[in-house]
Subunit: 304 residues, 2 copies
């Protein structure tokens, strides 16, 4: 497969620029009408590290690469805008597979209001997909940062936890449970929830990519506070063996946030969330059991 | 080397956000004050494809990754803004090497007025560096596209051609010629030239990454014109064996452009350029020898 033939094929799949995108793929760079502030993140997924070709189809890989990048836009409360995709393809990864990969990415892009505005295709020893994604907000104060948690805030999370980790185990063990496997293969960036939570007045937010134990620590560190979580409150996904598993398994891409108690009703009306605990003076993350005792729980470091 | 320790070390090297960058590395995404239009491109360099670890230091790799991305911003005539860097590091690529890689990138960033505003570090089987770079312009009409060449325009190029290709041969053959090797290892994005040419009224522009024979064809295709180049006019870099070599070797990152004849004096005043030929009706690229005959010259397809 020639690089130029694939680039032409991919360009056809992406269609014409429109709306904010004035010049899409095909020039030296994409040109996009700007607005207020640009919110940008880059993420890479690599074969054997973030996915396995034996358990992930090309479409799963394309979806996951865009979803993980969009999850960062969700965690800022920004409106998704454009994605820029670099495909590094090994020998033997054919044009049809590349088209499946880009097709799944385009499906998620369309569903989330994202335009794939540029890209690059190179040869490589292993399949890598890098995605830079830009979201937009009218004003920096419309966004939510990791650093805004304050003592007295409540702590909450969207959706359910541990599902992607349970799906990974099912895939590795050959258990046929398509819904569970899908949680791992096709994570869903919580874009609508992120914007709704930002509008409802959350003070800090982060996406749960490495497991809540690790990501809560990032949030605590950035805000200079202590985060206390009641282990029994964690919303477990189906198939998850227990709360410790749910707290340390990654790849759920739910949103962990803090908010003052007086925003609780507005937040409950804005998104499906579970309240987990509170923010105090100090540093770090503490998990409490039902008796109020501390539970030692080492943060799981994501393999990527 | 832990991913988190390296991320912390890299973040320290990048310093504090400032100017347009409101929130830099350390949150879910960078937040940048926008202006007019955003001009964005993504590029990846891969070990064994775009560079060899045996001939390129970590600093060379970092420089090259950012330089190739910035070259696209130069070719649009935009002002460089922010870079977002994804490092995919193999086992055995140590923290010191990563620091050298990022250090060289930072040196080029500072020199070119670019801020490294975000990034990602992952494990991978081979060294990959992906860079998404955003430049800015007040208005889309301030930029130069590949599609603007018109019959009657002149064709010109900045700098010299073939130097990077000659440098690659010198490196592979073990010839000690540091200046020549540097043309290959440390390409220079023509950012100031790109902006000056845009202001001086060029009609179309592209960076010469794959060799002028290939890149002139991209420009001709996008503009729907025929580009005619006098082979004897090509400005050969020192060490280049001949004009055909200069026309087909890649990685020079000079800027190829078209302009109406009445802009010639303004362009000569704006940048060091060489006039190569003209634009006619039709399609494709023709190289002419000194007698006016056509020279068959197959476009070289870049290995990446």
């Amino acid at each position: 497969m020639g690089e130029l033939s694939l680039i032409a094929r991919v360009r056809e799949m992406l269609g014409e620029p429109g709306g904010r995108v004035l010049t899409g793929p095909g020039d030296d760079a994409a040109v996009v009408r700007a607005d207020g502030v640009a919110v940008t993140s880059i993420d890479t997924v690599v074969d054997g590290v973030h996915f396995e070709r034996s358990t992930h189809s090309p479409g799963d890989v394309g979806h996951k690469a865009l979803a993980t990048a969009l999850s960062d836009i969700a965690a800022m409360g920004a409106v998704p805008g454009e994605a820029y995709v670099s495909l590094a393809l090994p020998d033997g990864f054919g044009e049809q597979q590349a088209v499946e990969l880009v097709g799944a990415m385009r499906t998620l892009a369309e569903r989330s209001g994202t335009v794939i505005a540029g890209g690059d295709v190179v040869s490589a020893p292993a399949l890598h997909v890098s995605v830079a994604v830009t979201g937009w907000a009218g004003d920096p104060d419309d966004l939510v940062y990791r650093s805004g948690a304050r003592p007295g805030d409540l702590v909450g999370v969207t959706g359910e936890l541990g599902g992607a980790g349970a799906g990974l185990i099912a895939l590795r063990e050959g258990v046929h449970d398509e819904a569970l496997a899908r949680r791992h293969r096709r994570p869903e960036p919580r874009l609508a929830e992120g914007r709704a939570l930002a509008a409802a007045g959350v003070t800090a937010m982060i996406d749960v990519s490495d497991g809540i134990a690790t990501d809560a620590r990032h949030l605590a560190d950035s805000s200079g506070v202590r985060i206390e979580i009641e282990l029994a409150q964690l919303p477990l996904a189906r198939g998850v063996p227990g709360a410790r598993f749910a707290a340390t398994a990654g790849d759920d891409y739910e949103l962990l946030f803090t908010a003052p108690p007086d925003r609780r009703a507005a937040i409950d009306a804005a998104a499906r969330v579970t309240w987990l605990g509170g923010v105090g003076e100090g540093s770090g993350v503490v998990f409490r059991d039902s008796g109020g005792g501390d539970v030692p729980l080492e943060g799981f470091e994501h393999s990527g």
